[in-house]
Every structure is written in structure tokens, then in C-alpha cells.
Symmetry: C2
Subunit: 430 residues, 2 copies
Amino acid sequence: MSAKKHVIVIGAGFGGLNCVRALADRNDILVTLMDEQNHHLFLPLLYQVAIAGLEAPQVAEPARGILRHVPNARFSLGKVRKVDLDARIVTSEERRLRYDYLVVATGSDTADYGTPGVSEHAYGLKRLTEAMAIRDQILSACEEASRTRDPERRKALLTTIIVGGGSTGVELAGALAELRNHALPKDFPEIEADEFRVLMVESSPHPLASMDERLSLYTERTLVEDFGVEIVSDTRVTEVTPEGVHTDKRGFIPGYTVIWAAGVRGNVISGLPEPGRGGRLPTNAFLQLDGHPEVFVVGDVNGAEKNGDGEKFPQLAQLAIQQGKTAARNIEADVDGEPLTPFSYFDKGVLVTIGRARGVANVGGVKITGFPAWFAWLAIHLVQLVGFRNRVLVFISWLYSYITYDFAVRIMYRRRRFPGDSSAITSSPE
Amino acid sequence: MSAKKHVIVIGAGFGGLNCVRALADRNDILVTLMDEQNHHLFLPLLYQVAIAGLEAPQVAEPARGILRHVPNARFSLGKVRKVDLDARIVTSEERRLRYDYLVVATGSDTADYGTPGVSEHAYGLKRLTEAMAIRDQILSACEEASRTRDPERRKALLTTIIVGGGSTGVELAGALAELRNHALPKDFPEIEADEFRVLMVESSPHPLASMDERLSLYTERTLVEDFGVEIVSDTRVTEVTPEGVHTDKRGFIPGYTVIWAAGVRGNVISGLPEPGRGGRLPTNAFLQLDGHPEVFVVGDVNGAEKNGDGEKFPQLAQLAIQQGKTAARNIEADVDGEPLTPFSYFDKGVLVTIGRARGVANVGGVKITGFPAWFAWLAIHLVQLVGFRNRVLVFISWLYSYITYDFAVRIMYRRRRFPGDSSAITSSPE
């Protein structure tokens, strides 16, 4: 037991989980997986929880359930407070553990770039509870709008503002527009279908600006023409308030629901070196932290340069999965006294769904739009989802939504309140 | 429009919903369904959310989704504050509405009978959020126990106390014991299987005391011998604390998780007459509130006498369904100037599941135990569940659990804290 090497993996996301699994057959290694949540979250589908398409547990899998099949690993719940790189000790909320190897796979959180009001008045989309809160918010806003007599307030209640036109923003906007186009008008006969508004505020000229222009323009056209999303491009949000967003070029845009999908920042832990831009930790090609060959950094928080020209790897699930496996391979090599392998990224391409039967893909330079891209997106995400049961339930939920045009999980847990609620009781009975 | 009769139904439970549906084909009646939740909750399966067997939305159906098929009904979200019986006005959090007929279908909430500490330190099982909180609590307690070094604290963390041996207590105890016997030991290798304890504290000599003695004894034997539940009978809980329960005969029983299933009390609204015992409103045989023939009372809150001998109707879903339909029929008759029909209860029997392949039933005097009762329970609840999609998803979840002996929804949303948490960090690294 004492001769075993102890590997601590911080984070049960794509990077951490794949690292743990890749070390599963090593009897001479003991792995401790630490996370502040008790589950692995399948982030690519989280937005579907927010728009009432999926139930929260369908996109999550209990970490301890996953580790049932990993005999050399144990789980430790709790937020990691600090790392002592010299003493090689990780301190979480309730444990202090010494490691021989450390894998930092902490992922990323919503980045507000210093914009005031984001953390107080906008929703991020990184945790199950955030997605459930967005669902509560949208349903509460519709309920409130259904009875308010003030037309300005009604308009602001029915306007959802998505900040950011990257893949998260696009997928969320498309799905929200579908909810708005089909399910909500049936639920709320008090509200006209065109009163529900989905606005995307985007600093680039077009959504998915980092992709090929043809795909970017197709996405914009599809969002606007097929789904009715309003895109406010070339515009930066300068402040978020409970009533809407202030922008640099279009003044104030009213909207009581603001979802911030404008960027992420690596989660760093006290005791680790000062991160670079975007909260990313510099590593060498073997994914080792500078000066600390026993510490590996994988996924969104990894700041290795792609080709030595300053460009970083994309922050994608695929990348985290591959880096997690490379870190595991390099730990094994180090334990065995063998040479390490530099990380090499196998780019499987980018796939974004826009909504019902619409998507874009760039796979090895081949650009695909429309139904094939959408279908490929569904198939790949279903296969990658952790847990057989989740796969079955998500498949049925998707099939149901595809046939009925409906999103079924319109269950509100906690009602949200809005500006102007106090004066809300109408004085004379209808 | 103005000539239409306006029926307000307070409560989207079994009684209210069945009343609204039964009025669906009346063009001359406008129905407003009011509830503080935006969904109908299928209470008989709620305990399965608490034990991680089902996902919360699977036992709920959006009220507005149900009303899509009821053209003469509309939904109004909000807690009802008071009823003015003379002016015939219902005031909710945000609306004042005048009615021609009122249906009080407010159901019941957990009753503590004045026992100190229940509302602060025990969980009820009446709302989705309560079931989700119990799940969080049990999973958090296991996590905490997996690292605590204090054997007394560990024992208290791993002990769940269920107060009450009625059908809710029995179903919950059996299901919790299954979770404890199969899923939890696989998740927590740090904990021995027999360390997880499920305790039932019951004031009667045996659980299900109101049922036939043979069924009651079978239930007791099954819980104890097949599932390992510890039953503390003939004992009343006198106080609940964060550390456990004080009792009248067995002193203090330590256990950090206490679920109160010892009884319910009708939810009454300000402005209605003072209710009788158990929060039940006296009505005549037509379900009309004494002195107010335009007000009907159905379900758990109805206090009509069964045979004029003081005995009240049982507080069951079946009864609420039947009373909701009778109230609708009587409102129609009153609108049409026809004679009302007295409520007559068609007793379909009582069915209680104890756990995997075990149940008891008393159907028209025929007593059934074991697998047939369990199977009948599953089939009947699946058929009665509202929403086709829910039926499919619950069926799959049950099939999964039956095959794998697992409860899959072991997802913690909000971690719970326990007595003694602050001193928890171990000082030396392991």
C-alpha cells in the first residue's frame, strides 16, 4: 500500500475522468478524484436542461457510480482550497492529502471580463443548478408576463438576452427560440407567439465568428430566418442590470432574463502559479506545469501553446478528453521510468447544432450544414454521454421533442421574482 | 363571455385537476385553476424521487400543459392568500378574482401535531423540492460519514429516522432500505453495508396499523427481515433536533436525517370557516361547504362524514379524484338548475408497496401480499401517472432499477451540512 504512487485528480469533468479511467489497470497506482460536485456533468447538453428539453440528472452521472468500475480510484467530495506544490499537499474543504502526482483538471467557469453586474444579474451555464435556475426564470417570467398590464414590463419579461455568439450562445439561442416558437405559445394563450423574444448580443459581425465564414453566415441566416432569433452584432455589453443590458453601440436593451455565454476562464487554485490570459496555466508539451514535472494540467485550464506561436488549444470536451488520457499515459511512463509522450491533438472537428434539423460542422476541412450536421451532432453526443441509462432517457426525450415539437420539462422548482413585482396585485377583480 | 359562469378551482392536485377536466366540455363555464406550483404533482411516487429512483420532473406534469386540452380553463400561478365568501372573491399573491363557484382542493401538508423541531429539523414529503432536499441530505450524509473519524458521528450520519408507519412511511422505509442495501455500499467502499441504518419510529404496535392485521404483520416482517429496517414501535417522537429525535419511551435516538411521515393536515385558507380536526372543512353530502352552496370542498381538506357517524373519508388520491368529479357534476347540475348528486365513494381498495417485489393490498376485502400486490401497485401507478412521456420514462427507470438493483439518480444539487462539520479538517495528511 505504502509503495503505491498516489495520484490526485482535481475535477471530475472530461479531462479528469478520462485520466482516472486511463489509470484504472495500474495496481501500483492509487487515484483520488476530487470534485466539489458529486457528479460528472456532460456540459455539451446542459443548455437543454435550461430550455426544459432534458431533466437535470440526464446530463449528469454520479462520480462514485463511475468509479465503481475503477478499482484503484476513490472519490473525495469537496472544493479544493489550495495546493502546496513544495510539500505536495492538496487541501480541500475537509481533507489534506499528499500526492506523488497531481492532475489539475478544474475546467473553466463563466468569465465576465470585468463587466459590472454579470455575476449578480446574469445566468451562467456551467452547473446543473444554473441550468435549473434559467428554466425557473424563463417559466416565471412567462407567468408574470401573462398577468402584467404594463406593456413595457411585459416586453422586458418576455425578452431573453443571450450575450455571446459562440457555440454555447448559438445552441442556446436556437433551442430557446424553438421553446418560444412551439411549447410556450401553447402553454400561454394569454401571450401572442411573437411577443416571446430571443436576442443575441454578439461582439463579432456574425455568430460562430471563429468558424469558416460560410458556416458562420449559414448559422446567422438560420437563427434569424428559420428560428426568429434577433441578432445584435458588433456590439459589446458594458453592464448587466436586473432590467436588461447596457451596450457600447446600441444603448440600453431591456430584458429581464440575461444569460452570459460570452466566454470562460480557467478555474485556478490558490498555490498554483499565476495563470496566463483566460486563467490558463502554462505547461510544456508533456502537459507538465512549468517547474513541476509531477503536476499535469489538462483541459480548459491548460495553457500550453499549440505550435509554439502563442496560439492555445481550443477549450473543447474533445481536447480535455485527449489531454486527460495523455496525462495518464505520462504518469504511467514516469512511474515506469520511461520517456514521456508529448501531447498531440487529434482534431476531430467542430460540430454545432442550431436547432431542430439544423447544424453546422467542420470535420477535417469538410464543411457540412443543415440536417446532416444536426443528425451527426445528436448521434455523437448520445454516444459520448456517460451512462447507459442516461443515453436511453435522452434518446427518448429527443425523440419525443422531435415528434411533438415540445419540450416537456416545464417544471418550475423555485419561482423567480422580477423588477416591479410589488405593485403587481390588480386592485379590482377581473 | 359575461354570461359564462366562472369556476375557480384552488389546487392542481388530484381533486382539482379532475374537477377541471370534468368541466372541459361546458362552453358556458370558464374555469380558473390556481396553484402556487406550476405543475400537478403525482404524490404517490414522490418518495421515489427522495431515494434517487426517479427524476423530479418524471412525477410532475406542467399544469399549463394539461390545460392545453381543456379549452375552457386557464391557469393562474400564485399562492392563494384569502377567500371572501360573501363577496365571492379569491385573492392570490397577485390576483383578485370573482367567482360564481369555488372548488377548494388545496390538499394537505405535513402535520407536526405541535411536536417541537419538526419544521426546522425534519423533512416533509409533500413537494418536489422536499424530495430533492432529502436526496441531497442522504447523499451528503454518506459523503460526510465516509471521512469522519468519530464513530458516534459516523453512526448518526448513517442513520435515517422515518417517523410514522403509515403507507408513506412504509413505502419510504422499504425503498430507502433498498438504496442502502444495494446502491450505497457500491458507491461507498469506505462504509460497511450494515452501517447504513433505516429506522422507523411508529406510535402503533405495527406499521400500517389501519389495515387488516395479517397485512400489517406481513409488512412488519418484510420490512424487518427482508429489508433490514429497524422498527421502533409503540413509541412517540416528542421532539426533533439536528442530532436526532427524543421519544416518550426510548429516550433519545441519534440520527442526522429525520423524515416526518406521521400525518397530514388539510391546507385551509384565510376567510374559510374554522376547520375541524386535521384541518378538514365540514361539508354536506354534495360536498358543499356548510352555509355556502356555491363552494365545494374536495380531497384531503374535505371533512364530510362518511356515514353520519363521525367517521371521515380516507385521505387518498382515489378519493380526491372521485370528489373532484362529483364537484364538477354538481356545479354543472346547479348551472343547469338540476338536482345535485350526493357523493358516493367507490372504494377501490388500498395498495401499498414495501419494496422490490413486496407489497400488500386489500381490494374489496380480498387481501393480497407479496409479488402480486407489488406488481399491481406498479401497474396502477404507471397507468394513473399524468403524461405519456412520464409513463415511458418512469417505466424505463423502474425496469432499470429492477434489473440492476440500482437507483440511478444519485445526483446532489446542494450539499447539506451536519452537526460537527466545522471541526472536520483532519490535521495531518493521509
